[in-house]
């Protein structure tokens, strides 16, 4: 009954405790570094193209334009890591800000009103979280519903009214700058929260459990990860932060209307995804998402300075989104194509596609000829 004792040397052969060594270059192929390089590139190009780009006041003013997106992105990153999504963030933000606006209009102290807004936003998160975690509906389905529901409540609160004349202590949250510097208060708020969220995601037990859930939820559950509780909490946090972003937006606008922030959820998701988060969960980092936010902000600002039309700007961001994922795969694809044996089918298909696309573009330009003639 002897299982032959394995001596020390053999043990060393079985498994090592070292990370596989990565080549120097492969480190730089990490997505976060690529984003960083892209940011430098954007800064460099824009500085050459526009004298207004590297201007502290301008940058400061622009940066606060992206802070609501940034704030909502933080819990969204965590949610996406677990393989879920929250489409209701922008609606939730509208709802909370509208409640605050309504109470302000009724003459209630602004801070009380803000507190009520935060509470309502959190409750919105509770609804999402409950349906996702305990009723076990897919998050996309739930938040698609609350996306309409929350926005609807915002309209219900304020209807065709606006809330305005917020006191300056309050608008400081969105318009103010800290200690006579040019740094907007909202940026400081974002950085502080980003640090907290980043540390939670990358350094703590909960963070680890989030990745586990995102990679294999049943296995995480079997390993004693409180899956339901974590999801529940995540959506609550997301609700709270959305409400906070709503306050920041209201403070920046100095007013509230129920449609404020419509469509921001897509901007939030775009930033998160460009930051390297896998929409199916389990992959991605907070650094990446934050860098992507900076990249999008600088890119938009730079293009704005060059008076590039908004639609084109969106197209560029859209293309960037695709290309960012496409490029790392191209090398792989070429290697794959080399392995594949010669097939008539693939050749035919490629040729066919080329013909079709050429035809499409010819048609595209031919049929819009009257427009060109008009200008």
């Amino acid at each position: 009954m002897t299982v032959e004792t394995i001596n020390k040397n053999q043990q060393e052969n079985i498994i090592s405790d070292r990370q596989a060594r990565k080549s120097f270059f492969s480190i730089f192929l990490k997505w976060e570094w690529l984003l960083f390089v892209l940011i430098l590139l954007v800064i460099f190009i824009n500085t050459r193209l526009s004298p207004f780009f590297l201007n502290a006041i301008n940058l400061s003013r622009t940066s606060s334009d992206f802070m609501e997106i940034g704030l909502m992105m933080l819990p969204m990153v965590l949610i996406i890591v677990t393989g879920n999504i929250d489409l209701s963030v922008a609606s939730n933000m509208g709802m909370s800000a509208s409640l605050m606006g309504l109470m302000h209009n009724m003459g209630i102290n602004i801070w009380l009103a803000a507190l009520a807004g935060l509470t309502l936003g959190t409750l919105g998160g509770v609804l999402n979280g409950y349906l996702v975690a305990y009723v076990k509906l897919p998050s996309l389905v739930v938040t698609l519903g609350t996306f309409a529901f929350f926005r609807g409540i915002a309209f219900g609160f304020l209807g065709d009214q606006a809330a305005r004349n917020y006191p300056s202590q309050f608008t400081f949250i969105g318009q103010g700058r800290v200690f006579d510097t040019l740094i907007p208060f909202s940026v400081v708020l974002f950085i502080a929260l980003a640090l907290i969220f980043g540390l939670v995601l990358h350094r703590t037990i909960i963070g680890r459990q989030l990745y586990a859930i995102g990679n294999n939820e049943p296995a995480a559950k079997y390993s004693g990860v409180p899956v339901e509780k974590i999801k529940f909490i995540l959506f609550i946090v997301s609700g709270f932060i959305s409400a906070l972003a709503g306050l920041v937006l209201a403070a920046r606008f100095g007013s509230t209307r129920p449609d404020n922030g419509t469509g921001l959820e897509l901007a939030v998701i775009t930033a998160a995804v460009l930051g390297g988060l896998d929409i199916n969960g389990g992959k991605g980092s907070m650094y990446g998402a934050t860098l992507a936010l900076v990249l999008i902000g600088l890119l938009r600002f730079g293009m704005g300075l060059l008076n590039i039309q908004s639609q084109v700007q969106s197209m560029v961001i859209g293309l960037l989104l695709i290309v960012s994922i496409l490029v790392p795969h191209i090398g792989q694809q070429i290697r794959f194509l080399k392995q594949v044996k010669f097939r008539w089918q693939s050749i035919l298909m490629t040729v066919g596609l080329l013909v079709v696309f050429t035809a499409f573009f010819i048609f595209f330009f031919w049929s819009r000829a009257p427009i060109i003639a008009q200008f």
Binding site: R61, E68, T171, F253, G263, G304, N307, Q311
Partner: protein
């Protein structure tokens, strides 16, 4: 704003950059609510005409959707370029105030057209037509269409947050209380969100709900076209009439088929034309934005800056124009 007795608050002295020199100021921007909307595009035609006459350049820059935060981002990049003047059609009258103020602090002339920023956030508003005039003309048209016996009317607006829509609706409700219009009964106000599909469905629901409905007033170019089409599709031409504010090209078909025999609008090209002149006058110091000043706007003639308790400083373009089957073919925009 200069009309304010209090001195303007200047946050930080070093922050105020070199104010653009009015003498050599050439770059102006016309900002619509959003791009890809023929109404504003027509405005741009007038703006370019004015630019040609003044020897300046007027850029036409807008956000992709009619959304306040997008517009603010856009304005920030325009402010950063230290343009000389901005003529803005605002997506939110209050939310743009801080941005407008920032622009004025940077020495940029800020006028609004079509849809105003609250007085604190701009120098001047170029008013397409008096509130009163626009509201009244729509009720007059509705009354004509409903015939001597009057009947039920409904309003199909854009979004419930659109400031100009709400102001007009308020006026209309007031006008309806006049004895002359006592036989018109306003049964409901619905919102089509300036979305073609939604407006169409809302119009459709109106006929279903109110079988005796006589007139739909849609003070929005999207809503009026969608309502007229809904009437046409439901074979209700002659029973239900549509009127309101629309553009000739979109309404031509319905004016001719009788679903929307008449509608009103000012000429957006003239509106933008006037806006550019006003913006130029402000930027060059010809006017200082105070009540009673006058300036000449090319072919449109002389205008006076007026002060209004609600609207603040504004310049009035004129009365709205009524389009009908007799004159519609004279217009192509």
């Amino acid at each position: 704003a200069p009309a304010d007795p209090e001195p303007p608050v200047v946050e930080d002295v070093e922050e105020v950059e070199e104010v653009a020199d009015p003498a050599e100021c050439e770059n102006y921007v016309l900002v619509p609510k959003n791009l890809g909307n023929p109404y504003f595009d027509t405005g741009n035609v007038g703006a370019q005409e004015a630019a040609g006459e003044l020897g300046i350049t007027v850029l036409y820059q807008g956000s992709a959707t009619a959304d306040a935060s997008e517009q603010i981002t856009l304005l920030n990049s325009l402010i950063a370029q230290q343009v000389c003047g901005l003529a803005i059609s605002a997506n939110d009258e209050d939310a743009l105030v801080p941005t407008g103020q920032a622009a004025m602090e940077a020495g940029i002339a800020v006028v609004t057209w079509d849809s105003a920023i609250a007085p604190a956030g701009r120098d001047l508003h170029i008013n397409q037509a008096e509130l009163e005039g626009i509201g009244r003309v729509q009720i007059e048209m509705a009354s004509r269409l409903a015939g001597p016996d009057g009947g039920e009317i409904a309003i199909l607006s854009a979004t419930s947050t659109a400031p100009n829509q709400n102001a007009w609706i308020e006026v209309m409700e007031q006008v309806l209380t006049e004895p002359e219009y006592a036989n018109l009964e306003l049964v409901e106000i619905v919102y089509g969100d300036d979305d073609d599909t939604k407006s169409y469905n809302e119009a459709q629901a109106l006929f279903t709900k109110y079988p005796d409905l006589k007139v739909i007033i849609a003070p929005t170019t999207v809503g009026i076209a969608a309502s007229a089409r809904a009437v046409t599709d439901a074979d209700l031409i002659g029973q239900v009439f549509v009127t309101g504010l629309g553009t000739p090209n979109q309404m031509r078909e319905y004016v001719k088929n009788g679903s929307a025999p008449e509608f009103a609008l000012w000429n957006p090209a003239d509106l933008a034309y006037l806006s550019v002149y006003a913006m130029h006058a402000l930027a060059t110091g010809e006017i200082q934005a105070s009540a009673g000043e006058t300036f000449t706007a090319g072919r449109l003639g002389e205008y006076t800056v007026e002060d209004d308790p609600d609207l603040g400083l504004n310049v009035l373009l004129g009365a709205p124009f009524v389009y009908d089957a007799d004159n519609i073919d004279d217009f192509d925009w």
